[in-house]
């Protein structure tokens, strides 16, 4: 019985620690030029998982607008709205990429790119793709973990 209580306390503490480590969308600290230094999860992202988010239509669907040569054999038809992401890690730091993925408008104020980690401040927010009204705060387009996974994947995109 003592052991059971101890376990329960430990689990609760663990959950508490994880929740405390995750940065909520409204608490993200953007630098003057839009970079986000602190990991949103406090843990390294998983580049393989990020690659799935980037290519999946129901998740990030980054390829709708950005070409990534490395991915095109697995996921065809990349868009040309935004700049190609080949060599992204040569041009941007991890903090800059995190800032752009979370909310690109903090780096490029006029950007067409959706804000993937933002929950309020929308005009006529809808419930997903239903066309019906939704109340803010909305669930962010990607979770903190998915953002970190995408950033980890983008950091693998190097020319050399």
């Amino acid at each position: 019985m003592n052991r059971a209580i101890l376990s329960a306390v430990c689990v609760a503490a663990g959950v508490g620690a994880a929740a405390a480590a995750e940065v909520a969308p409204k608490d993200v600290q953007y630098g003057e030029y839009g970079a986000v230094e602190q990991s949103l999860t406090g843990q390294p992202g998983d580049a393989a998982a990020g690659r799935k988010v980037v290519g999946s239509k129901s998740l990030g669907n980054c390829v709708a607008c950005h070409k990534i040569s490395e991915l095109i054999d697995d996921v065809p038809f990349h868009g040309e709205i935004g700049p190609p992401l080949d060599g992204a890690a040569d041009r941007w730091s991890e903090a800059q990429l995190r800032g752009i993925v979370a909310n690109a408008k903090m780096t490029f104020p006029e950007s067409m790119m959706p804000s993937f980690y933002k929950t309020t401040g929308y005009i006529r927010p809808g419930k997903g793709f239903t066309g019906k009204a939704a109340q803010e705060p909305l669930p962010p387009l990607l979770t903190a973990q998915q953002i970190e996974d995408v950033v980890a994947y983008l950091m693998t995109l190097k020319y050399e």
Binding site: S93, F108, P114, Y122, R124, G126, G131
Partner: protein, 286 residues
């Protein structure tokens, strides 16, 4: 690091500018229907666009050669089936007054010639800008004593197609001044408003990025001179407001309703961006 970041930003901005400025002809092919009706599918942008676009292009120019070809012969164009259905309805009495469209308007080839090209249009009696759909329902309820049709019902869209066909090959020329101006301004504001969780305006895709691919889709200027449009995707005629609704929905926004004052205003504004392109209805797109 800051210098690098600035440089990258400048490069990105330059690339975006190049993309938006690449306004070469979308296709050199000419749209001629049934070997006789020449359709203007590109024209100088109307003055009110104030340089936002140099040239306006029909959506026809952005489609594949196979899709473009379907519109070149009325026997191939599935949209004509719905026009033929509407022609039957035109001549059939409905409602308490025992009247058909033909009772007052006789042959649409004469009475409706040029109508589509100037709609939406200010209606002095009603003191509002009206779409063809609104005018059709006014006739049905007030003159025929018949039930109003649903704004995007099949019968309504087919009737709009029959009426629009009578202006095929005539340039769109909607009025944006005088009493229509405030509605037009409202439509313009909606066009540039970034809605929904994706925060996208009409202009983001159809002014800044026409000609570019978004995933596997080739973005057009979103011109509506071809409406109603037969889409291969859903195998039916589509009304302008249905298309607006689909686009707004895809920004993860709460849509406006077909026939709402917002969409009427948006239709007037978007139609005015195509002043100079010819009416194509019923057009064919993917």
């Amino acid at each position: 690091m800051m210098t690098t970041s600035l440089k990258t930003m400048i490069c990105t901005a330059a690339m975006l500018t190049l993309g938006a400025g690449a306004a070469a002809a979308q296709t050199d092919e000419k749209l001629v229907v049934n070997g006789e009706t020449e359709i203007t599918t590109q024209a100088p942008a109307p003055a009110h666009l104030d340089g936002a676009l140099d040239t306006i292009y029909s959506g026809w120019e952005f489609r594949s050669p196979a899709t473009r070809e379907v519109q070149m012969d009325d026997f191939d164009n599935p949209g004509m089936i719905f026009v033929d259905q509407a022609r039957q309805v035109w001549n059939t009495a409905d409602g308490s007054e025992g009247k058909s469209c033909a009772s007052c308007h006789d042959d649409p080839a004469q009475s409706m010639k040029g109508v589509r090209a100037v709609y939406p249009k200010w209606n002095e009696d009603a003191q509002e800008v009206r779409t063809l759909e609104m005018q059709i329902n006014d006739c049905r309820t007030n003159r025929m004593g018949a039930e109003a049709w649903g704004y995007t019902d099949k019968g309504m869209t087919s009737m709009v197609a029959l009426i629009s066909l009578q202006s095929r090959g005539m340039p769109v020329n909607v009025a944006i001044d005088g009493p229509a101006q405030s509605t037009w301004e409202k439509g313009k504001e909606l066009y540039y408003t970034r809605t929904g969780q994706l925060e996208l305006s009409c202009a983001n895709c159809h002014e800044d990025h026409y000609g570019d691919m978004i995933r596997a889709d080739h973005l057009s200027q979103g011109q509506i001179n071809g409406f109603p449009v037969y889409r291969l995707k859903n195998a039916k005629l589509n009304a302008v407001h249905s298309r607006f609704k689909g686009c707004v929905r895809d920004t993860r926004a709460e849509t406006y309703k077909p026939g709402s004052p917002e969409f009427v205003a948006l239709e007037l504004y978007v139609a005015s961006r195509g002043n100079g392109l010819d009416v194509e209805a019923p057009s064919v797109r993917n």
